[in-house]
Symmetry: C2
Subunit: 400 residues, 2 copies
């Protein structure tokens, strides 16, 4: 190393995208865009830079602020690189509240930043599709959100056995817990335990539940998770009496999507404690080596609360890295999918030939849908130039 | 205002893109991508976050570091939001130097940040197309760079009278200055004065020149700028004797592009002091109200110097905002250009009709290339729903 040499690696937790890597990512993004624009969803964008306060307060809580990249600008404003899109979406909608025509069917594919230790599938910079319907009440909009999530899967060729869609309603779960005697003061803790259920061991989960309820209530929760008849009957009664829209949702999902998608009610599904106010859902990879949640979403009718406005909302967020892993695991993406057009290289032997290439050959080939490159190194031997073209993988080589 | 309400404006100098604004920007970006991919240029991407050192040192100079958004991360690394793409490109190429197949024909459309007072056409966050050929010596590659710049103009319908392409070679200018007696120690100052020529008044420029040269040399520079015969003869002699490749470039430009593009040698064109080592060019808007440089580029064979490597490079950078202004000024973009597909709204009157829309009508319409939205608000009166559809601008409305 010379002493004035700089290090060449990208900043920790960020990635360089060489053309092959970027074209795969952009192929996925563009297919998302296509599926969404078919259903007339509109793309919006906010800046990666926001005032920190946009992220700091959410329903009165700090949102993992230790993970936020925040700093002071030169006028001492506290600014941050967005860790997620939803708070900026809320700000954007509030800023244009009166002029927008509801319901909004909107999406965005932002890069987001979190300050955490990089590991497989978790980088400091990551991309995430966000899809929302804003201004449409519980009902068909909830169905459409799940419908779209499954369209994004089937558009890439995912089959029924490749993934499961779990769905639930937090209100039903809450009523069930109250019905079996859990007091208001413990509800949040139970939600928290259920949300982390799969990450913990069985005995650990039971011990946590025992701290806040008697054995009878604990057993009823365990029976619910196992789908035992008595608890499911109670569950169904609650749905029928208090949540008719959720009852309809289940019917609609199975009758419209049931033949192509594996849809399963999961009464313990919570999807975090921060956002959701109603229906929640999760798309889960069934592959044994990659058996995990891919993405999910739900209804959050509190979107604009911090801005003193009211808008009902339902939507989901989907990380690019887990989705791409899913496509690779199930062999749903190949080099041919990603390539946009056939390629030809022209190897001119004289300056006159180069001139003819620019003036005539290129316009001609381009108009026939081919990507054309001219080998400009006239000083090299023809066989070397041919060899380079071969190594670069051109589909056609023309000597001029 | 309630006391917990947050401000809704985007952070100073950044923009929110509502769908209509974003679709115009993305239309432009995608047309750039199309033109470039036709000539087999490959898109790459680096992160907006870099270690600050990538930007701080360039040929031993500080690069406007007061304008850089830089901050310490939680491990006390000095990081920055990129103010431009080229330093990251140099880092990326150096990091993969041995594995890449040259010449690279690469492009990127990064968002960049500069800490400056926002004003018309200058925001703190801005997008910029960067197009480069790396690993191809002076000659046809220089031609191709200008050729591509003009393709990006004509692809949007720009006509010969809409813009001028000025070109020059810094080596020729340097030889000319030496020839008229300017010493090595003053060259940089003269370049600086010429680079800012249009921004200053005539008397100011002459006074600056007088500080570092005698009247005879000053007059020769003024005569060169006016294209006087004697000075142009000297210029032509230098080109013929020392810069045959640049002489050929002029011939090639006029014979291949001359009929469609207004190409003019501008012996005073410098394009900044930092990068360029040979040919430079600039695309200039001829519109009287918007009469200014749109974008430019040139050869910079020192791209990898800081990384202890050698690669010849030629390329250009083009800001999205001035380019978009150009399109609007010359009426080269309209709403119809930006719209991607015709839109239909389905207005179902019953839940059974909604179900039929999702199950049958949507797949049917989508496969015919239409974007379809379902009006889900079954509780509203039909005439209200029709009115909303009309206001939203759908091209077709179907009652189901």
């Amino acid at each position: 190393m010379q002493n004035n040499q700089l290090p060449t690696a990208p900043y920790k937790g960020t990635s360089d995208f060489l053309p092959d890597e970027l074209s795969e990512r952009n192929y996925i993004f563009n297919k998302w865009r296509q599926v969404l624009s078919e259903l007339n969803y509109q793309e919006y964008e906010t800046s990666v830079l926001e005032m920190s306060e946009v992220f700091k307060i959410k329903s009165g809580e700090e949102l993992g602020s230790t993970q936020i990249y925040s700093f002071l600008d030169k006028s001492n404003r506290q600014i941050a690189l967005r860790p997620e899109q939803t708070p900026s979406l809320a700000r954007l909608v509030s800023n244009n509240f009166g002029e927008l025509k509801y319901p909004l069917r909107w999406f965005s594919i932002p890069n987001c930043f979190r300050y955490e230790q990089p590991q497989r599938g978790r980088r400091r910079e990551f991309w995430q599709l966000n899809v929302d319907i804003i201004g449409s009440e519980e009902g068909w909009a909830d169905f459409e959100s799940i419908y779209l999530a499954t369209k994004l899967m089937t558009a890439f060729g995912a089959k029924k056995q490749d993934y499961v869609v779990y769905y639930n309603h937090r209100g039903v779960l809450q009523s069930f817990l109250k019905e079996i005697g859990i007091g208001d003061e413990s509800l949040k803790q139970v939600f928290h335990i259920l949300d982390n259920w799969a990450k913990m061991g069985e005995s650990e989960n039971e011990a946590e539940l025992s701290k806040i309820m008697d054995d009878k209530a604990k057993n009823q929760i365990l029976c619910l998770l196992e789908g035992m008849n008595r608890e499911m009957d109670l569950w169904d009664d609650i749905v029928e009496d208090e949540f008719p829209a959720f009852s309809e949702l289940g019917d609609r999902l199975s009758s419209i999507l049931g033949s192509t998608v594996d849809l399963q009610l999961n009464p313990a599904l919570v999807r975090g404690l921060t956002y959701y106010t109603g229906m929640v859902f999760e798309v889960f990879d069934t592959d044994p080596v990659n058996n995990r949640s891919l993405f999910g979403g739900g209804r959050y009718d509190n979107l604009l609360d911090l801005y003193g406005k009211q808008a009902s909302a339902v939507g989901f967020g989907m990380g690019q890295v887990p989705f791409t892993d899913f496509l690779h695991t199930h062999n749903l993406i190949s080099k041919d999918d990603v390539a946009t057009r056939p390629t030809t290289v022209l190897i001119p032997l004289t300056n006159e030939a180069v001139q003819k290439c620019y003036a005539e050959k290129i316009p001609e080939l381009v108009s026939s849908g081919v990507a054309v490159e001219i080998d400009l190194d006239l000083s090299r031997a023809l066989n070397k130039r041919r060899e380079s073209a071969f190594k670069k993988g051109f589909e056609a080589v023309e000597i001029e």
